[in-house]
Amino acid sequence: EKLFHNRDHSDVQILKTHQAPVITDEYKAELFLSRYGFIKPINWEEIQTESSDTYFSEDILDDLQAKIQEGTSVPHSRDGPGSGTHDVHVSQTGNQAFISALKEFQRVSDLPVTGVFDEATQEAMNKPRCGVPDKEIDAYVEPENTDGPDTEDSLSDSFNETGISSSNSSDDDIFNFNDTDTLLVGISNDTNRNSSSFSGLDGQMGKISMNASLSDTVR
C-alpha cells in the first residue's frame, strides 16, 4: 500500500515515479534498436565459425574464463580470436547497420519503411513495450556494475555449478551462465491464418438458429 502517516491518509506518498528517457534523436534510437535486438552488437557466427575450426588461443581462453568467473562481460571482439587486445568494446555500429535496423523496426511496427528516424518512428519507439528483445541477440547482456551481492553470488554460483572446468560438465555448460543473463529472445513470425469457416446449418427439424450466446463478447 502507499506509504502514509496521517490518520486520514492525506499525506499518502504520491510515488515520485521517474520518467523513462524519451527517445528524441538518432543516438537514443540506436540504443533502443540495439537494446531490443534490431542491431546485432556482435556476430557470434564469426567467432563460432572461427572457433569451430580454429581453437581459442590459450590466453583468450584463460581471459574468457577469468572474465566469466568474475561475472563481467565477455569480450565482444569483432576480430575474433588471435586479435591483439581482448577487451574489445562493442564497436559503434555503422550507419548502414542503423538504417537497416531502423527499416526492420518500421516494418514490424507497421510503419512506413523510410529508413529515416521520422516522427512516426519516434512515436512508436516511445510507446510502452515489453522489455524482451524482438530479435535473437547473442550477446551476453552486460551487467550494469551490479552491486547487489546476491546478483554477484547468484551469477558466479550459477557459473560455478555449470563451470567449464568442472569435469562432470554436461554439454551445455558454457552457456547456462549466459542464460541466466540473457533476456528471452524471439523472432517474429507470421504464419498464414488458416481459419476454418463454419458451414451453414440445417438440422433434421429444419432451420435452427445458432444461439447468439452472450459469451461472445465478455469473459
Partner: protein, 425 residues
C-alpha cells in the same frame, strides 16, 4: 582438449539456443507452479488484486493449452517454476534495469522470472486507464512459456502495448502458437450434447436454440461451433451450471424429442434424472408425478446399468444405449427394447473401413445439429456415423456405417482442462 571442449560447446549451445520461428518449449512438465514473490509486491494494487490478476492470466493460458498452473506460496523458491515480482530501476537482482514510467513496462527471463516496472501505472482488468496488468502478465507468461514477439494485429504477443478493448482474449493464432509448442488439448469426454431450448422473441414467437456442451468428470465447456472454440472462461464446475446433477459428472445425456414428447435425461451409474430446461435444473418431481432420480431399470426396462453412453434417434424413436460392446435400442413408444436387441455394436454400426472401429466402451454418442450427424467418441478419437445424405451419394456405404476415425481435437478445438485449484478464481 579444453579448447576443443570450449569450441564444441559454443557450436552445440548456439544450435540448441537457435529459436525456431515460433519459439521454444520451455517446460517439459505440464503442471507449473508460480508465485508473486514477497519482495516484489506492487505499491499500486492490493496484494489480493495482484494475485487475482496473475491467477486469471495463468488460467487464460491454461484454457488454451495442455499446461496447468497452480499458485504455490509454500514450497522453497527454487521449486517454483515461474516467479513474478514488481520493481523499479535496478530491481530484484536483475541485470536489465527498468527505465521509469513509460516505454519498458516488464520483461521475462529464460528461467521463469517475470518483472514488472512498478513505475508504470498498472491497473486492474476492465479499468479504462493505465496499463492493464492482466494483459501484460499474459504477454510475459507467453514469453516464459517460450513464445517470441509476434507482429500480428490482435496477437497478445505484440511487443508494444495497445490500450486493450474492454476485454481481450487469446485469438486463434495465439492459441495455435502455444499448441504448436505444447500440443493440442486432448482427453476423453463423459458426454457431448446439443442442449435445445425454446425462447420467446419479444414478438411472442417461439424460437428454438441450441448450445453444444462437452462434459468431463465434474467440468463442462460450452462449445461455440461458429467460433471453433470453447466459451471464454470455461471450463466451469458442473454443479454451477447444471443444478442438481451429480458434481462428479454424468455418463450420458439423452433428449427424447418428438411431436408429443420433449424429455431431457441425464444418466449416471444406475440412476437417471429428468432435466427441467425451462428452469435450468433437475426435476425433483415432474408434471406426470414422476420423482427423480429414478433407477434406469425402472425407467427403461431391459437396459442394464451403468451405461457407457446413449443418444436418441428421431428416425426410429429409439434411444440407443451403449454398454461394453453391446448396444440396446429402446423404443420410447412401446417403452421396451426393440426386437432383436441387444446387438453387438459392430452389427449395428459396422466399420466403413475394416479395422477402423471403436469396438466397445464408447465414451459419448452425440447427435450434432451443427454437422447434422451422429458421432461416436472414444478416448481422443471420434467416428462419424454415415448419414442418409452420404448414403444417397454413395449407396454402397452400410447403413449407420462408421467413417474412418479422426482426432477429436481436429474437429473441436481448445477444450482444455485447468488445474482444479484454478477452477474458481
Amino acid at each position: 582438449r579444453r579448447k576443443r571442449h570450449l569450441s564444441s560447446l559454443v557450436s552445440k549451445r548456439r544450435q540448441r539456443r537457435d529459436l525456431d520461428q515460433t519459439g521454444f518449449i520451455a517446460f517439459s512438465k505440464s503442471v507449473l507452479k508460480w508465485r508473486l514473490i514477497g519482495e516484489g509486491y506492487s505499491s499500486q494494487l492490493s496484494i489480493e488484486e495482484q494475485r487475482y490478476i496473475f491467477r486469471l492470466a495463468f488460467r487464460m493460458w491454461s484454457e488454451v493449452s495442455p499446461l496447468e498452473f497452480i499458485e504455490d506460496i509454500r514450497s522453497p523458491l527454487e521449486d517454483v517454476d515461474i516467479r513474478l515480482g514488481f520493481g523499479t530501476g535496478r530491481h530484484l537482482g536483475c541485470n536489465q534495469r527498468f527505465d521509469g514510467n513509460g516505454q519498458e513496462f516488464a520483461h521475462a527471463w529464460f528461467l521463469g522470472d517475470i518483472h514488472f516496472d512498478d513505475d508504470e501505472h498498472f491497473t486492474a482488468p476492465n479499468s479504462h486507464s493505465g496499463i492493464s496488468l492482466l494483459k501484460v502478465a499474459v504477454h510475459e507468461i507467453g514469453h516464459v512459456l517460450g513464445l517470441p514477439h509476434i507482429y500480428r494485429p490482435g496477437s497478445i504477443m505484440q511487443p508494444s502495448y495497445l490500450p486493450h478493448e474492454s476485454s481481450f482474449e487469446m485469438d486463434w493464432m495465439d492459441r495455435k502458437a502455444i499448441q504448436h509448442l505444447y500440443g493440442a488439448c486432448r482427453g476423453r469426454f463423459d458426454t457431448v450434447f446439443d442442449w435445445i431450448r425454446k425462447e420467446k422473441t419479444p414478438y411472442g414467437d417461439v424460437t428454438i436454440r441450441f448450445n453444444t456442451y462437452f462434459m468431463r468428470d465434474g467440468l463442462y465447456w460450452l462449445y461455440e461451433n461458429r467460433n471453433n472454440r470453447t466459451r471464454y472462461g470455461d471450463p466451469v464446475a458442473l454443479q454451477i451450471g447444471w443444478h442438481g446433477l451429480p458434481s462428479d459428472g454424468v455418463d450420458a445425456y439423452v433428449h427424447v424429442w418428438s411431436r408429443k414428447k420433449d424429455y431431457v435425461y441425464f444418466f449416471k451409474g444406475t440412476q437417471f434424472w429428468r432435466y427441467d430446461s425451462e428452469n435450468d435444473q433437475v426435476f425433483r418431481q415432474d408434471s406426470e408425478g414422476q420423482q427423480y432420480p429414478k433407477l434406469i431399470s425402472e425407467g427403461f426396462p431391459g437396459v442394464p446399468s451403468p451405461i457407457s453412453t446413449a443418444y436418441y434417434d428421431r428416425r426410429d424413436s429409439c434411444i440407443y444405449f451403449f454398454k461394453g460392446d453391446k448396444v440396446y435400442a429402446f423404443n420410447v413408444k412401446t417403452n421396451s427394447l426393440a426386437r432383436g436387441f441387444p446387438k453387438n455394436i459392430r452389427a449395428v454400426f459396422p466399420p466403413v473401413e475394416s479395422g477402423d472401429h471403436p469396438d466397445g466402451n464408447i465414451d459419448a454418442a452425440y447427435f450434432s445439429y451443427t454437422h447434422n450427424a451422429i458421432f461416436l467418441l472414444k478416448g481422443t478419437r471420434f467416428w462419424q456415423v454415415v448419414g442418409s445424405r452420404e448414403r444417397w451419394r454413395r449407396p454402397f456405404l452400410p447403413r449407420n456405417g462408421l467413417m474412418p476415425h479422426k482426432e477429436v481435437d481436429q474437429q473441436w478445438f481448445d477444450i482444455c482442462n485447468v488445474h482444479p485449484a484454478a477452477l474458481r478464481l
